[in-house]
Symmetry: C2
């Protein structure tokens, strides 16, 4: 049975998303779709949130993922930012939850560690490695690359038991 | 033309809600509905968020409100709490935004000031005043009382120009 992962890196203005497929018996996943849900700075917060939920809902309908992985939030500049990031994250979780997907969360450090081999890797290193790992023809933009990286991390955490870190949180 | 306000005090486990109607020519609003969307501690975060959106969606269908007011978040204990509260707030905003409602935000201090006359009022004072102002037969529980108070504050801010504080933020 093949698995399809919806991976999301939620943010109010730029939410990275990716759909990865791992076919049974294969070692490496294939990227079926990836990109960024961009919301103009002119849009109100509530409209941005709705756009995140609706675009993810469309993606879920189109690709029928079987599970979901999101990036955890660690660094925030202020409580105001934390609340806004939390709202974007809520918008993403709603789309996944209404489709009945189990959602697991991975800390940014863990994703970087899994993809680049060091928890303090920068965005361009993540994008470069994601491109190589998935054999993409172009380097994905930073938000899409993050989502692809989350998806790969999730697949590794759930398939290679011996490489497993702590059990990812089900949220 | 009468106005119907959907007022929300969002939180992951207990979201207060209220629908107030102000009929043209009348001075005081009537509470059409109020209560609390409660989520069991056993429920996952994503299921709680979905429940908030879905229950508000049902309420909006039943009462067809024409505008929406939510409480702003001021005090938070930690970034983790801020992210969770932000997610609950996002779930509420999505339900209002998908119904095309304009959403305004009021700081907790402003709501207490409007209802009790002092920004540092406690929850029981808010509930007591809300009951008196709306002529309710029983004192509403704390979360529903907060939502009712937000609704009254919004109506006052938008009708009594001379009592207006700063323009409430459209979110």
């Amino acid at each position: 049975m093949s698995r399809r992962i919806l991976a999301i890196d939620p943010a109010l203005r730029n939410t990275g998303f990716a759909v990865l497929e791992l076919t049974e018996g294969k070692r490496d996943p294939v990227a079926l779709a990836y990109g960024t849900i961009s919301n103009s700075k002119k849009l109100r917060q509530s409209s941005c949130l709705l756009a995140i939920t609706e675009e993810l809902r469309t993606l879920i309908k189109a690709y029928a993922p079987t599970e979901c992985a999101v990036e955890g939030i660690i660094f925030v500049q202020s409580y105001k930012t934390a609340i806004t990031m939390g709202a974007a994250r809520g918008a993403a979780l709603i789309a996944a939850a209404e489709a009945g997907l189990e959602i697991r969360e991975y800390a940014p450090r863990r994703v970087k560690q899994a993809i680049v081999g060091k928890g303090a890797a920068d965005k361009s290193q993540v994008a470069f490695m994601v491109r190589a790992l998935l054999g993409l023809r172009e380097t994905p933009d930073a938000d899409a690359a993050d989502a692809l990286a989350i998806g790969i991390t999730h697949l590794r955490a759930s398939t290679a038991k011996h490489l497993k870190g702590e059990e990812p949180e089900l949220i």
